[in-house]
Amino acid sequence: MRMNGARIMLECLKKEGVDTVFGYPGGTVINIYDELFSFKEIRHILPRHEQAGTHAADGYARATGKVGVALATSGPGATNTVTGIATAYMDSIPMVIITGQVPTPLIGNDAFQEVDIIGITRPCTKHSFLIRDVKDVASIMKKAFFIARTGRPGPVLVDFPKDIQVAQTEFVYPETVEIRSYKPNLEGHPRQVEKAFKMILESRRPVLYVGGGVVLGDAAEQLTVLARKLSVPVTTTLMGLGSFPGDDSLSLGMLGMHGSYYANMAMTHSDLIIAVGSRFDDRVTGKLATFAPHARIIHVDIDPTSIKKNVRVDLPIVGDVKDVLTKMIKQADKAKEKVTEFVASLNPWQEEITGWKMKHPLSYKNSSTIIKPQFVIQKLRELSDDDAIIATDVGQHQMWTAQFFQFNRPRTLLTSGGLGTMGYGLPAAMGAQAAFPGRQVITICGDGGVQMNIQEMATLVQNKLPVKIVILNNNFLGMVRQWQELFFDKRYSQTCMELPIDFVKLADAYGAKGFSTSKPGDVEKVIKQAFKENGPVIMEFKIAREEKVIPMVPAGASLNEMVLNA
């Protein structure tokens, strides 16, 4: 059938199984919006800012595993998406971002609302396309989705000039996609896997160090099976939380800068680190020279560039983590006796770890007069559904959530790990709630970051997205204040939010419910009340203002040089 480029774009989205698009209209996408007006198969959600729209698409993608889609007009609309794109890129989130562009004859002329968005986003997209012929719309869309979701996933930008949206052609969606220069390697080499398995059986102090790749690769189940079969303790990165049950006795929780004492001690004393879908980020390794000094390293990752980028690796395995873990499970099943012996040989290691766990458990001093943030997180865990989705913002509250929420399932924590984007939490929760209208979606924010995309309250109310917004209000840019306290002599330069916001009134202004308390005794009541509400709710908890995130490995220090006391 003949149709215009704009319509073809929508048909392509439908073919790709897209049910929701987060977009914002403008001059160079008005033709797409005109087509959308009568195109009922796709739900369009109008955020109040393109950055939030992009984060929402990202949250949608993280929660579902599908490709998130955002749409923006050229120029300022496009530049507003950049933070969202960079956030997704750093955490390898599959997304397609469609930006309007000025008509092709005007490109390069500094036309009204023209910006070289492909140039601007080149370093933070997996790939990008400029559509220059209406005949290419379908094939480019097919490629864009294919590239976004395969291999190491990532955001792909499609720049779509206005004249091409209007031009007509026959719509044919390609059945298959073939890019000769892009062949992601999905299968781990069987001999490498065998070698890895042998190395594991030879080890006596092994640790599985697991990252977001296991969540993205939908391999949490395989990881859990393998870890339990071999009795190997598991520590995860921030991005890996949920890939292994936090309440399992083999779980060491999170490692790194704000990781647990026992996770960091286990890494430091390990003789074999099995890194799966993780990338040895500096927040994880601490000082590289003293990182895991006794360990051999097996590194499983789909992206060869992640391997040997920061640390030496004894055995690299390039491949899809699910495939590699499945192969390892098979190895274990073939060598039952050896595995039994191996598991028994780990007893001293397990005991040592238990010792560390008892010596310095994750803990905090609760109070009956002032709300401790960690207490709120624990209460939230206790009172929320098992499959609740938690989106955090960035700062202290994010680390407290990582430490105390005990994530048991993959894709239940949405958080900006790589870029650390304040303003991410609320819109990401919005995206997740759009994907799962029936599930509990909670965003945990600081009073700073929540104000970076607070306008999305309107989107929540308008679209009946009942996100529960938790604000841990310390009236500080808490994480920066903590650094100023510890490393800058308590010189709190520009981190005190002088103006207290009335968040209850603010909720009211948007037509949502708001609760606020400063009493520890009311925390449970407020959470319960909020969870009973059918619409979006703000819960403000006025917390101990100078509470710190502990333990902490100071930047540049070794993992075993933790600050343990507040």
């Binding site: 080149r122 990008s128 400029l130 590239i147 890019i179 220069s181 560039t305």
Partner: protein, 163 residues
Amino acid sequence: MQHTISVLVENEFGVLSRVASLFSGRGFNIDSLTVAPTNDEGLSRMTIVTRGDDQILEQINKQLNKLIDVLKVLDFSDGSAIEREMALIKVTAEDESRAEVLRIVDIFRAKIIDVTPKSYTIEATGNPLKIDAILDLLRPLGLKELVRTGAVAIGRGAKGWKG
């Protein structure tokens, strides 16, 4: 250590800037870069001369391979390739130095491609080290202008690298 890397890329919009921005964004060096179409219309071949230790070179190779439009990457570091570069060199040539310039041109089997009463313009082709050598000899005579193409490289032996 200096390495010569050949990269076969799809002739897609913006591919050169993707490669260039990969190098600048990750702090890799480019000593020279050439790019031109190949026998296969859809492909271009880049020759990049870069430097770094083994770990950096491994990253450069992997990062190049990761670009969607890159079809193949070949690292010629081990002397397995023949390299050639061309230079166009304008030198002062007056009175007694005219004969000296001609002698040097002759020794290096270069060519004079433009002559004025005060200058010669020379075309020299060869291994980049040979170009360096002729320049060392010409420089004292008065180098007015220099244009180098940067190296191109091709593997030794009978085996061809398609594209």
